[in-house]
Every structure is written in structure tokens, then in C-alpha cells.
């Protein structure tokens, strides 16, 4: 993305009362009527004055502070009703997928021609109806969830790992490494992700969930890499990082111990949202017949299966699709709640 030059920091200099305490504890609504109503210090940051303390002293301070920051974030998240409801629903859906063989009334591929083409009904537990072969679509959706959730979570973990690594290295070391890595991510973005995935999965003729995950992660890491890089670039300027470096801490230690914890908020939010993106893209691949292929069940391939009869048996495409929508909605709401909880600068004022 092109950066937009914004003049956001508006320092309020108050020479009459220039003690540090006043500036930090600046009461909401300063002279300029700052409508953000921001609280004093941003999460997880240590005040510059303390930075010159020795590294070990400093670390103690950070731990106490960061622990309370996380507790505050947790409390904010628990207060976010929509996110909590989504979390509960999502856990239930995912549990149903994990224990598909216990939850599903039928097996995935059990053919029962006497029940062929039934609409959704409570009788015989065909909640989502059956197809032309009498296969129960409720059971098939539950098994589909199992594959889809595994692919999505594995993809998210992989892409977070890769994105964080690239972003951290680029942001921390800067210079030509940064330039090279960022031009690489730029280049990846000149091609539509879906097309690249389709080419790769079609030509490699992959259909195992694990390879699909690797392919998805190979595309999805770029956005997080940019976020982590940006966060590291600004953290690098902080004096306490200088102090840690001066006290002889290694690069790995500085990255893992001092910088990563302070970038964790955006990483968690991005990782969560990646789950939803992965589900959507996997569904497209499978729908077009290039991702996960039968007999492995997935929500996308179920829609592909049902599309031939969709005009008469509408339930065959409707329910697997709705399941995707509901799962992704839950994930997005959770991500939204996490963003509110982990990014206290975006506080709300009720007018």
C-alpha cells in the first residue's frame, strides 16, 4: 500500500507545567480538544525516562507492565459481547468437526438411494437434505468442516510464522535486506493470489490438505510481513532497544524478548483474520476443482458436487455455503474483538 503522509501527532507543549508527570498523565481532552480521548501511554511501551536503567532492571519493569497490559486486553475482549458469542459458536462448530464421527448421523459417503433428493427436514436427521445418491448433507458438511478447519488453522500458523520471520528480519536489520524482502513482497502482489494458487495447484495436481495449506501460506504471508516490518521499524527507534543493545544483548534476544512481544497484538489479529481468508480461498480452489478433491470432504468441493442439481435441490449449495459464511463471520468478529482489545488507541467515545 502506498503510505499516506498524515500529520497525526500533535504535541501539546505546556511550558508552564513541564514536568514529565504532567505530560504522561495528560488528562483526556487537552487544550486542542483531542477527540480521540486517548489514555496516557500506549500499551506495552516503557517511558523513555526509564530506558537508561540497566537491562535487567528494565526487563523486570517490562514484565510487570506487559502482564497487566495483557490482562487489560483480556478484560476488554471478554466485554466484547459479539466477539465472545462468536468465539463460543466457533468453538462448538470446530468441536463438531473434530468429533465428526461422533456428531454426524451418517458417514460421509454413505449412499442410500431410498432417501435420494430429500429436502431439509428433521426426520431421519437430514437437516441439510440429501443429494441424488441419498448422501446426507448434514453429515457431509460436518466432515467438510473437519478438513476445512484443519487446513485453515494450519495455513494461518504457517503464514504467521513466515510473515513474522520475514517482517522481523526486514524491519530489524533494515538496509538492503529490508529492500530485497520488501521488493519481493511487492512482486508477489503484482499477481492475483488466486491465479497463482490455481496455477500451482492445477499444475502440481495437489489435492492433499497439507500441500494446499503450504500453497495458501506461501501467498498469504505478505500482509503480515508488512505489518511486522512497520512495527519493528518504529520499535527499533525506541531508546530501550538501544539500551538493551548497549548492554550486549544478542540480535535474537532483542528480537524475541523486546520487540516481538510489543508486536504481538497485530500478529494475533492478523493470524485470526488469516483463518477466514484461508477458508474462503480453499473453498474457491476446491469449488473450481483444483484444491482438495473428493473423496476428501471439504466445504468448497461439496458446493462443487451440488452445483449440478442446484436448481432443483437448492439445499445442496446453500448449506455448505452458509456454513462457510457463518464460520468466517465468527472468525471476523473475533478478529474485530481482538483488535479492539489489543489496540487501545482505537477507543470508542459514545456521543
Amino acid at each position: 500500500m502506498t503510505e499516506h503522509p498524515r500529520e497525526t501527532t500533535r504535541e501539546q507543549r505546556e511550558p508552564g507545567v513541564t514536568r514529565r508527570g504532567v505530560e504522561e498523565q495528560q488528562a483526556p481532552l487537552g487544550a486542542a480538544g483531542d477527540p480521540g480521548l486517548r489514555r496516557a501511554a500506549p500499551a506495552g511501551r516503557v517511558q523513555p525516562g526509564e530506558a537508561m536503567a540497566t537491562a535487567s532492571l528494565y526487563e523486570e519493569g517490562l514484565e510487570v507492565e506487559s502482564r497487566s497490559v495483557w490482562r487489560l486486553a483480556l478484560r476488554r475482549f471478554l466485554r466484547h459481547r459479539l466477539a465472545m458469542a462468536s468465539l463460543i459458536l466457533l468453538v462448538l462448530i470446530f468441536l463438531a468437526g473434530i468429533f465428526a464421527n461422533l456428531v454426524a448421523p451418517y458417514s460421509y459417503s454413505q449412499i442410500n438411494l431410498s432417501d435420494a433428493g430429500l429436502g431439509p427436514s428433521l426426520s431421519g436427521y437430514h437437516f441439510f437434505g440429501t443429494d441424488d445418491l441419498g448422501r446426507d448433507y448434514f453429515s457431509r458438511v460436518i466432515y467438510g468442516i473437519r478438513t476445512t478447519e484443519a487446513v485453515a488453522i494450519f495455513t494461518a500458523v504457517l503464514s504467521v510464522a513466515l510473515g513474522t520471520l520475514v517482517g522481523a528480519v526486514a524491519g530489524y536489520f533494515g538496509g538492503w535486506i529490508d529492500n530485497l524482502l520488501m521488493r519481493l513482497t511487492d512482486l508477489v502482489l503484482t499477481l492475483p493470489a488466486l491465479a497463482v494458487l490455481l496455477v500451482a495447484s492445477a499444475l502440481l495436481s495437489t489435492d492433499s490438505p497439507i500441500t494446499v495449506s503450504f500453497l495458501l501460506a506461501a501467498i498469504l504471508w505478505t500482509s503480515l510481513a508488512r505489518i511486522v516490518r512497520g512495527s519493528f521499524l518504529s520499535l527499533k527507534e525506541n531508546e530501550y532497544i538501544e539500551a538493551a543493545r548497549a548492554s550486549g544483548a544478542s540480535h535474537t534476544r532483542i528480537i524475541l524478548r523486546h520487540m516481538l512481544p510489543n508486536s504481538l497484538g497485530p500478529i494475533i489479529v492478523n493470524g485470526t483474520l488469516t483463518v477466514a481468508v484461508a477458508i474462503l480461498i480453499e473453498a474457491v480452489l476446491s469449488f473450481l476443482g483444483f484444491g482438495i478433491k473428493p473423496p476428501t470432504p471439504s466445504l468448497g468441493s461439496l458446493i462443487n458436487d451440488g452445483k449440478g442439481q442446484m436448481l432443483t435441490e437448492w439445499w445442496l449449495v446453500t448449506f455448505p455455503g452458509l456454513t462457510i459464511v457463518i464460520i468466517c463471520l465468527c472468525v471476523n468478529f473475533i478478529g474485530d474483538g481482538l483488535r479492539d482489545a489489543l489496540d487501545p488507541t482505537q477507543r470508542r467515545v459514545r456521543a
Binding site: 500529520e7 514536568r19 498523565q25 487544550a31 480521548l37 456521543a351
Partner: protein, 341 residues
């Protein structure tokens, strides 16, 4: 004294946030008389800006809970939006703190001034508005005004932008000019020039001025009368001489103490001990008592909010239970504060 241009009574403004209710302005009353410069002084967060901006409907998140603001006989707080809009920029104009962010970056300076004219005179032609805008820029001392009017804000220096802001504010010859920390964001060398422009503009327009600042030096130089605010309350008001020579509120006294004085041996500032209170949990009783050297744990200060009452004569008011003790003890108290700090 003549009729006031603006008469504020019991204005209360709150902000509702996730953390609680912010009591930004709490029963504030003061008057502004024609032609005078009223200085409103206080730390950031004392409510000095919110007070005036909420009158003009410029604090959308703020809830005006009570009060009255009579401007030329009309209560601004009860005016419908349409009427209030006609007053903003025409009868009452503002100059803001930060000229770097207060001008729209995507429009030319001249157009932004012309727009202020046309907003209140729809019949004014583009050409006439532009000519007038150039005249105004010239008036506030922007050199080569015709050329500068065609430039964008980023092509102006901070001082020049503030001049443009002043030109915009006086465009419609307002009867009340509100300057909110007009020089705070500027270099010291530019500050004096801007003050001169402001003073000239005020003379030209014969407008009453509210000067909002934390800078007592500015108050001493510009103001006729002073209102001191603390934690959303008016704590003292008097003419400028009285404020500086016979303050009758410990907070005002504290502000004096933190003013650097030429000719004194110790050039360092004497700060007021403690910190301004959170406006979500304002201390009970007098909001200043936790930092007050005069209070010394007296029960009255902790339980009862002092009223703004006359000290000696009608125009010197102070909100302190023990304001009369200050007469004898001011020097002693200043030393006392020094000891704590």
C-alpha cells in the same frame, strides 16, 4: 460596565467514554465585555478550550448538560444548528492552536479564505471573494498576497499559516474573536509577530477577544481581565493587575510561582506539587485540595466545593474557602511549595 457580549452561566459539558464520564467543564460562568481581551488560563485538560468550543457546537462528542450562553441576547446553547452556523465564523470566529493542521491541505489558501466570506454572503462573486481574500492576507502581513493566495498550506511556514488563519477569522468582522493557544505551536521569534497581528486585527475589527492559553506571560501582555480554570472549574477571575499582584486562589498563586521571573537568582521553575486530577474521578470537595498548600488537610476543602465568590469588590472572584488567608500568607506558601518540590 456595559452589557457583556457573551455571558456564560453554569455551563457543564461531559464526555461519555468507555472508562467513565469525563467532567470536562463543570458549572463554568464568566462574561466577556465589548472590546476587551479576556484571558482564560489553565493547564491542559482544565476545560478552557472545551468551554468555548462547545458553545459553537465544535465539540461533537461533548454533551452539554446544563447552562446558558447569552450572546447578544440569544442563548447559543438553545439555537438550532442552522442559526448557530450563521453565528460561527460571522459573529464569533476562532483562531486555533496548530496552524500546521488547521488549514485544509488540499485547498489553496486564498480559496479557503474566500470560502469563509462566501459562507456568510452567498451573493458574493468568486472574483470579489478572491480580491477580498487577498486584501485580508495583505492586512495580516502576508507579503506578496496575490501570489501567496494561490499557494497551498504546505507552501506556507507556520507563522504565515497562522496569519492566514487570522485573516480567515476576521474575514467577516466578528464581534467576538476566540484565539485558542494562538502562538503555542510557533517558534518564539514568530510568537511576538503573531501577537502583533492579532492585536492589530482586534483593533481594526473592534472585536472582543477570548485568549485561551496556559502562558501567563501572554496573559500579562495581552489580557485586560483573566479567568483562571482548574479541572473544569473557574477558580478565580479578576482584572489582569489584580491576578498578578493580589491573587486570591492558591492555584493562581501556584501558577505565578511556576512563572520564570527575570532578575531572580533561581531561574528554575517552582512547579505546583502533584498532578492535575483525572476528570473521570474528580476529587470531592475542592478539586484542587490534594495539591493545595493552603488546605493542609482541612475537612472543609475535602467535603465542600467552594463557590466562586467576591473577594474585595464585585469583579474579583475566587473559589476558595480560605481565600482571605492568602493575603498574609502568599509568600510563605510559595516557599512552602518550593520545599515540597
Amino acid at each position: 460596565m456595559p452589557e457583556p457580549v457573551l455571558s456564560l452561566r453554569d455551563l457543564t459539558v461531559e464526555f461519555h467514554t468507555d472508562d467513565g464520564i469525563v467532567h470536562a467543564v463543570d458549572h463554568v460562568s464568566y462574561d466577556v465585555y465589548p472590546g476587551e481581551t479576556l484571558g482564560v488560563v489553565g493547564e491542559s485538560g482544565s476545560g478552557k478550550s472545551v468551554t468555548v468550543m462547545s458553545l459553537l457546537g465544535l465539540v461533537p462528542q461533548g454533551r452539554i448538560m446544563s447552562g446558558q450562553a447569552l450572546f447578544k441576547g440569544r442563548d447559543l446553547l438553545k439555537l438550532p444548528d442552522k442559526e448557530l452556523r450563521r453565528i460561527r465564523g460571522k459573529e464569533v470566529a476562532m483562531v486555533f492552536q496548530d496552524p500546521m493542521t488547521s488549514l485544509n491541505p488540499v485547498f489553496k489558501i486564498g480559496d479557503q479564505i474566500a470560502e469563509a466570506l462566501q459562507a456568510h454572503d452567498p451573493g458574493l462573486s468568486e472574483d470579489d471573494a478572491r480580491t477580498r481574500a487577498i486584501e485580508l492576507l495583505d492586512l495580516v502581513g502576508v507579503p506578496q498576497a496575490p501570489r501567496r493566495a494561490e499557494q497551498y498550506p504546505h507552501e506556507f511556514s507556520g507563522g504565515m499559516r497562522q496569519r492566514a488563519m487570522i485573516a480567515m477569522a476576521i474575514a467577516n468582522q466578528p464581534s467576538l474573536l476566540i484565539a485558542d493557544e494562538p502562538t503555542t505551536a510557533l517558534d518564539v521569534t514568530i510568537q511576538a509577530q503573531i501577537l502583533e497581528v492579532l492585536r492589530a486585527a482586534q483593533r481594526e475589527m473592534k472585536a472582543a477577544t477570548i485568549l485561551i492559553t496556559h502562558d501567563l506571560g501572554l496573559i500579562a501582555e495581552m489580557a485586560d481581565r483573566v479567568v483562571v480554570m482548574y479541572a473544569g472549574h473557574v477558580v478565580e477571575t479578576a482584572d489582569v493587575g489584580t491576578i498578578f499582584h493580589a491573587p486570591r486562589h492558591p492555584y493562581t498563586l501556584g501558577l505565578m510561582g511556576s512563572l520564570p521571573q527575570v532578575g531572580r537568582d533561581d531561574e528554575w521553575l517552582r512547579p505546583i506539587p502533584g498532578q492535575p486530577p483525572s476528570l473521570i474521578n474528580v476529587p470531592p470537595g475542592c478539586p484542587f485540595h490534594p495539591r493545595c498548600a493552603l488546605s493542609e488537610g482541612r475537612i472543609e476543602c475535602r467535603t465542600r466545593l467552594p463557590e466562586l465568590a467576591p473577594v474585595d469588590g464585585e469583579y474579583h472572584l475566587s473559589a476558595c474557602h480560605f481565600k482571605h488567608e492568602l493575603r498574609e500568607r502568599s509568600e510563605e506558601l510559595l516557599r512552602h511549595m518550593e520545599g515540597i518540590a
